[in-house]
Each structure stands twice: as structure tokens, then as C-alpha cells.
């Protein structure tokens, strides 16, 4: 991505901005499927849709391993107008691997964790969404998606934002 930068305030605002999905939550998740070949060991689904302001698009991506129920991710990308690649804002990961926040000089942790883009990591040369914190808010994919949907203000075409209803 060329010269696209968000400060921490902008990142937070974008995460909390209402996002009108083109399909209901249940339809989105029931569409998860493996791809042939190298994508064969996990289920995945993505949905790209416009921003309410008309400036750029959102991309929501969810995946979960067929081998390990704790290996999953659901995340939100922002795709600026005219650009091919997205900027990852948040990603809700499972507990299948350790994570290290390198700028903070911390020891690795092994837990469910949430990545979020930050100013400092953009400036550092690491990936935008390098920073992650462990979480106790979920312990499986469906609850991770609920947290993700609530935090990112996902909205069904009907206007519903209640993720409790989609199960």
C-alpha cells in the first residue's frame, strides 16, 4: 500500500464506524468454505462493501482451520479509494500460536488475542496490525465473531446490529 497512514484516533473512529453489510450475519458465516489446493485446510469467507460516506470500502474476512478449532481469525480491512490492497484495522485471532509485540519488548504470549493497527507500528516498518493484546472475551470462533461484530459496528441489511440473533 502506498503512503496510506492513519493515526490512532482515525483508526479508532474507523473501527467504531457503522458498517452496513450487504448480507445478514448468518448468511455471511454459512458461506464459509475451503478453497481447493493451498486453501484446503481452512474455511474462509470475505465480503467487500462500500462505506456509508462513499469514501473507500470495507473488507471483512473470516477464516477457521479444519484441523484446529482454536485456529481462526476474523478481521476488518479498509480499502482506500483507487487502491488494490487493504489496510488491516483489527483482527480477532484464536489461540493457536504465540504472539510477540516487538516494539514493546515483551515476552511472547500464548492466548486468544486481538490485533489492532497503531500509529507506532505503521511508523516502525512492522505490519500496521502488529500490536495485539490477549483477551478473555472469547474462546471460540463464533464468540470471536460476535465480539468483532459488536466492536466494529457491523450492521445487517435490515439494520439489525444484534449479533446474538444470528445463531
Amino acid at each position: 500500500m502506498r503512503n496510506f497512514f492513519l493515526n490512532d484516533i482515525e483508526i479508532q473512529a474507523m473501527i467504531q464506524e457503522t458498517k452496513p453489510m450487504p448480507i445478514p450475519f448468518r448468511t455471511f458465516l454459512s458461506g464459509m468454505k475451503p478453497k481447493r489446493g493451498r486453501g484446503g485446510s481452512f474455511l474462509q469467507i470475505s465480503s467487500k462493501f462500500g462505506r456509508l460516506s462513499g469514501d473507500g470500502e470495507w473488507l471483512i474476512y473470516a477464516c477457521k482451520s479444519k484441523e484446529n478449532a482454536f485456529d481462526f481469525s476474523c478481521g476488518l480491512w479498509f480499502i482506500p479509494e483507487g487502491q488494490a490492497r487493504g489496510f488491516c484495522l483489527v483482527r480477532y485471532n484464536g489461540k493457536s500460536h504465540q504472539h510477540t509485540n516487538h516494539l514493546e519488548g515483551q515476552q511472547p504470549f500464548y492466548d486468544f488475542h486481538i490485533h489492532q493497527a497503531t500509529e507506532r507500528y505503521q511508523r516502525s516498518g512492522w505490519k500496521n496490525d502488529h500490536y495485539a493484546e490477549p483477551t478473555e472475551r472469547y474462546a471460540d470462533f463464533h464468540n470471536a465473531f460476535k465480539c468483532f461484530g459488536r466492536d466494529c459496528a457491523l450492521q445487517e441489511p435490515s439494520g439489525n446490529t444484534n449479533l446474538e440473533l444470528f445463531e
Partner: protein, 259 residues
């Protein structure tokens, strides 16, 4: 500090950073210091398979992780696929439905299997960081693959030039869609030079008075300098800024044109 002390410190540091964490029956997470660019460590699992013995596997996580930032169909063909196949072959790693697997055939050499497995994961995870030159060389592969999916085989020809007006083949069109009153000249544009060549090519076809439509498909339109792009825009009928993200639009446009 003596070199012996340094070697001992290296060994202690490395051995401390490699740990086994039991998780299930005959299954261990192998914690290593190796990680992707987003701070997530590689998934390395040591598992015993009934009747087969111990294996190292990533349980498909490496490709799943790559899928956050790229379409995995991009690594299933062309130069990226060749790089991965070469890596698997070099380190003796097998791949089953997207899972990377190394069978540990000998206790004595378990360390070597582990080393090779990590090397393989490092190389494959680097696919997403391919250099501009390496990525540029895969754009034409991607373009041709895309055209093959979008248009019936008898309706297009790669590397076309007009035999009547250009016997020397100086004005090559990357892909020509035929059997139309106004055939489509498709230019695959990866850099400024290609964009300039496409502009000149389009002007030459106009000069010859040949009916045609010009379509430009960029690798990344944002990378083309403004003046070069401006000149191209003046002569090109339709443009798409990239293949990725525009697959449906481009296919819809082409299928609408060819009928």
C-alpha cells in the same frame, strides 16, 4: 568474552526459546522465536500419527495466515507457485491439502527436520514480501490466467500484432479479443515503460485506421507516474486500476463486449 562463552550463550538462548507445550494426546505446540511480520509466531505442531510416527506440521496455518493479505489463488500458479514448490522440494517438506508436513524418520536427526521445517515456513511466509521485480514478473502470469478464465479460448490471442501493417511486430498487443466489429486490444500495464508503449501502440492503430477498442488493465495504476498515465488516459477507451479487487467488474465488462 571468549568465543566459547559466546557459543554457549547462543546455544542457551536458542534452546530456551524452543519449548514444547503439550496440548492433547501425543500433540505438542512447538514454541519458537520465528514469526510473521505481524508478530504472530509460526504454528509448529509435533504430533504422533498412529502407524506413522512423529511429524511436524503447521496444520495449515501458514497458508491461512497468508490468506489475510493475499488471495491464495495467486500462489497456486505462475512464479509464486514455482517458488513454493522449489522450497518444499529443497527442504523435503510435503504438502497435503494446504498443510505443511515433515515426517521425523530418525530421532538422531530430529533437529535437522525441525531446522528444515522452519526454513520452509520462513521462505513461504516471505511470499507476501516478494520484491517489486519478482512481483512484476508474476503480473503477466496473473493477467494471462485471468483472461483465460474470463474469455472463451477461441475469442482471444496473446501477443498479437497486425500482420498487414506491422510485419516486424513492433506494436504488440498483450491480448486481442477478436470476432467483433471493433476488436478489443487489451494492454497489461505493470510500469511506466509499458504504459508508454501501450499509448504509442494505440496511437499507431488509430493512424492505421483500424477499428478497435483499447482496454488497459494495470498491475497497480497508482504506481504509474501522472504524466505517463494522463497521456494513456487520453487515448484509451477503458481502464481498470488493477486485476485484484476488480475481477468481477472486468469480467462483466469483457463479457458484455463480446456478447
Amino acid at each position: 568474552m571468549s568465543v566459547e562463552q559466546i557459543i554457549r550463550a547462543f546455544g542457551e538462548s536458542i534452546s530456551q526459546s524452543i519449548r514444547l507445550f503439550p496440548e492433547g494426546t501425543d500433540r505438542y505446540q512447538v514454541f519458537t522465536p520465528f514469526h510473521f511480520g505481524d508478530g504472530d509466531h509460526f504454528v509448529v505442531v509435533l504430533r504422533k500419527i498412529s502407524g506413522q510416527g512423529w511429524i511436524l506440521t503447521d496444520e495449515g496455518h501458514t497458508y491461512m495466515h497468508l490468506s489475510y493479505d493475499m488471495d491464495l489463488t495467486d500462489v497456486a500458479r505462475g512464479n509464486r507457485n514455482k517458488i513454493i514448490e522449489g522450497t518444499l522440494d529443497r527442504y523435503g517438506i510435503s504438502e497435503q491439502e494446504g498443510q505443511l508436513i515433515a515426517a521425523i524418520d530418525s530421532d538422531l536427526h530430529a533437529g535437522n527436520y525441525f531446522y528444515n521445517f522452519i526454513q520452509c515456513l520462513l521462505h513461504i511466509s516471505d511470499i507476501s514480501y516478494l520484491s517489486r521485480e519478482r512481483v512484476a514478473s508474476t503480473f503477466m502470469d496473473d493477467f494471462k490466467e485471468f483472461i483465460g478464465d474470463a474469455i472463451p479460448q477461441d475469442r482471444y490471442q496473446f501477443d498479437y500484432w497486425n500482420q498487414d501493417h506491422d510485419s516486424a511486430g513492433k506494436y504488440v498487443v498483450d491480448c486481442r479479443v477478436n470476432n467483433m466489429d471493433r476488436p478489443i486490444n487489451i494492454y497489461a500495464i505493470g510500469n511506466d515503460d509499458r504504459c508508454r508503449d501501450a499509448t504509442i501502440g494505440i496511437l499507431q492503430f488509430e493512424k492505421w485506421g483500424i477499428p478497435f477498442q483499447a482496454l488497459g488493465i494495470f498491475e497497480d495504476q497508482e504506481q504509474i507516474s501522472r504524466k505517463v498515465l494522463a497521456r494513456f488516459t487520453d487515448v484509451c477507451d477503458r481502464q481498470f486500476s488493477s486485476i485484484r479487487g476488480n475481477e468481477d467488474r472486468i469480467k462483466g465488462y469483457l463479457q458484455g463486449q463480446i456478447g
